[in-house]
């Protein structure tokens, strides 16, 4: 089966290929196998981009329902992975753009005592033994989150796909419907911005 990182690019693995064809004929088991081959990486991508379990869950549901509805129209002119990631990245980019407009940070919830980060609550317990380290971790985490928020949705996406998901730039270009060169420039801009915002940390 083709690996879920998409490094196989446009090569269509026979296993995925036959699962897709079976699912196109209405084979529910094949569809489920297809989902399970890719859903962890889809959820991880959504979670890391949107930093919110509930938003990631929405993306998961919407992405795989779109796959389910439109699989009959998939013509194997790219790999299934690329096609799936096009759907997922489009949904995530929409979310990121909406957030940019609303200046929202879904991982941060406003409470009576100010904003708290959901993700930090998970770290609190293990870090409780070393409060200084916990504070530093929290500050670093917040700085990184802020820096990522400063990227444009497209830069954020390219950076996420390359740095965290390990996709090749050629494949990223294909997923985002752009050239490898444009993806390369986008990654360069993203790393420059991160460097500028976080340079003092390293």
């Amino acid at each position: 089966m083709q690996d879920a990182t998409g490094t196989a690019g446009a090569r269509v693995s026979p296993d995925v290929d036959s699962l897709v064809r079976a699912a196109q004929r209405g084979d529910q088991v094949a569809f489920e196998q297809l989902v399970r081959a890719y859903d962890q990486s889809v959820l991880r991508l959504a979670m890391n981009l949107l930093r919110s379990p509930e938003d990631a869950r929405d993306v998961y549901q919407e992405a795989f329902l779109r796959v389910y509805r439109n699989l009959h129209a998939f013509r194997f002119d790219c790999s299934f992975h690329t096609w799936l990631y096009r759907i997922v990245t489009n949904i995530c980019l929409d979310q990121l753009r909406k957030r940019k407009v609303r200046k929202e940070e879904s991982a941060v919830v406003e409470t009576a005592e100010g904003a708290i980060d959901r993700t930090e609550a998970f770290e609190e317990e293990s870090a409780a033994a070393n409060p200084e380290r916990a504070t530093w971790n929290r500050q670093l985490g917040q700085r990184i989150d802020n820096a990522l928020e400063d990227l444009t949705p497209r830069e954020r996406m390219v950076f996420e796909l390359r740095h965290y998901q390990g996709l090749r730039l050629r494949n990223i270009g294909e997923v985002l419907g752009t050239s490898e060169e444009a993806a390369k420039n986008c990654l360069f801009r993203a790393t420059q911005k991160m460097r500028h915002l976080l340079g003092d940390l390293v």
Binding site: D39, R69, A121
Partner: protein, 307 residues
């Protein structure tokens, strides 16, 4: 190669995205140039810091996502069909489909399946008299009896349900009533999620608020419960809503729901919650929920345990 040119290549070098020639040139330069070598090191250090910010979705979240998807698909495509995708699309897209009465004996999915079955029973051009039987687009039938008479003819009695569409603005009371009914009655969790999602901005109305509270406490699908919770957030100060939230926090079996509920409930200080929070600190499995409860208790100067 100049330092400027190499520094532009460093991020791509780090990610292994340079051509072999570019890579050779960059490596040769970095080997000779201390400033660019330090630049490379700091790019690595930054990447390492960024690596620590990776979030791995909880296994329970993945399981919930899979369950939601399976439920939506099971409801929509259980029957074999000529065009399973189209069939499902129709069902999933038609929030109000089949709701020609507010209380519907059969879910939209079942109606579509029956409709399709009927269409198979009476293939086009089969010579069957269809003076009163022509399951045209959007009409679903449920066969009640089938008997053969002495002349060799078959007599079939059936109920007919016609799919209709209504449209209106979300503030239209009739639309709201239909959505409330769909949120309560629909067999398909996808339709319930959509209905609750549409209603959630209208919680100021008592009827909608009650429907959202009912969905939060009784809907079997966690996706529906989460949507209902979103709608109830602005009303978290109202005693009946707080009661429903407390119930959900104590008894909902889904971690994601409890995590959301505890956020909403502890947003405001409420001394009446002390006992419930103390109880949860003792028995709650989810560390996020437990920590939030402890935090709220500390802020109220209440002891963490009942001891």
């Amino acid at each position: 190669m100049t330092c400027d040119a190499v520094r532009k290549l460093i991020p791509l070098y780090y990610y292994g995205e340079l051509t072999p020639e570019e890579e050779d040139q960059a490596e040769a330069h970095i080997h000779e140039c201390g400033a660019c070598a330090r630049e490379m090191e700091s790019a690595r250090a930054l990447a390492a810091a960024l690596d620590r910010r990776t979030m791995e979705p909880a296994a329970s979240l993945l399981a919930d996502c899979r369950a939601d998807l399976a439920a939506a698909i099971r409801g929509g495509a259980a029957k074999p069909a000529r065009q399973p995708w189209r069939l499902w699309l129709d069902a999933a897209g038609a929030t109000l489909a089949g709701l020609n009465r507010w209380r519907q004996p059969l879910g939209a999915m079942a109606l579509i399946a029956v409709g399709f079955f009927a269409a198979r029973l009476v293939p086009a051009g089969s010579g069957v008299s269809t003076a009163s039987f022509g399951p045209s687009e959007g009409v679903f039938v449920n066969v009640r009896s089938a008997q053969q008479d002495g002349a060799g003819r078959v007599r079939i009695a059936y109920d007919e349900t016609r799919r209709r569409e209504v449209s209106g603005r979300i503030d239209n009371p009739d639309i709201q009533k239909m959505l409330v009914a769909a949120a309560h009655e629909e067999d398909d969790p996808g339709v319930r999620v959509e209905s609750v999602d549409l209603l959630k901005g209208r919680a100021a109305s008592d009827e909608v608020r009650d429907a959202l509270m009912n969905a939060l406490l009784h809907d079997s699908n966690p996706g529906v419960r989460l949507k209902a919770l979103e709608g109830l957030k602005p009303l978290a100060a109202e005693p009946p809503v707080r009661g429903a939230l407390s119930q959900a926090l104590q008894f909902d079996d889904n971690d994601a729901v409890r995590m959301q509920v505890v956020d909403v409930l502890t947003m405001r200080r409420d001394d009446a919650m002390v006992g419930m929070l103390q109880n949860l600190v003792q028995r709650e499995d989810n560390s996020y929920v437990r920590l939030k409860c402890e935090k709220a208790l500390k802020e109220m100067n209440a002891s963490i345990g009942t001891f």
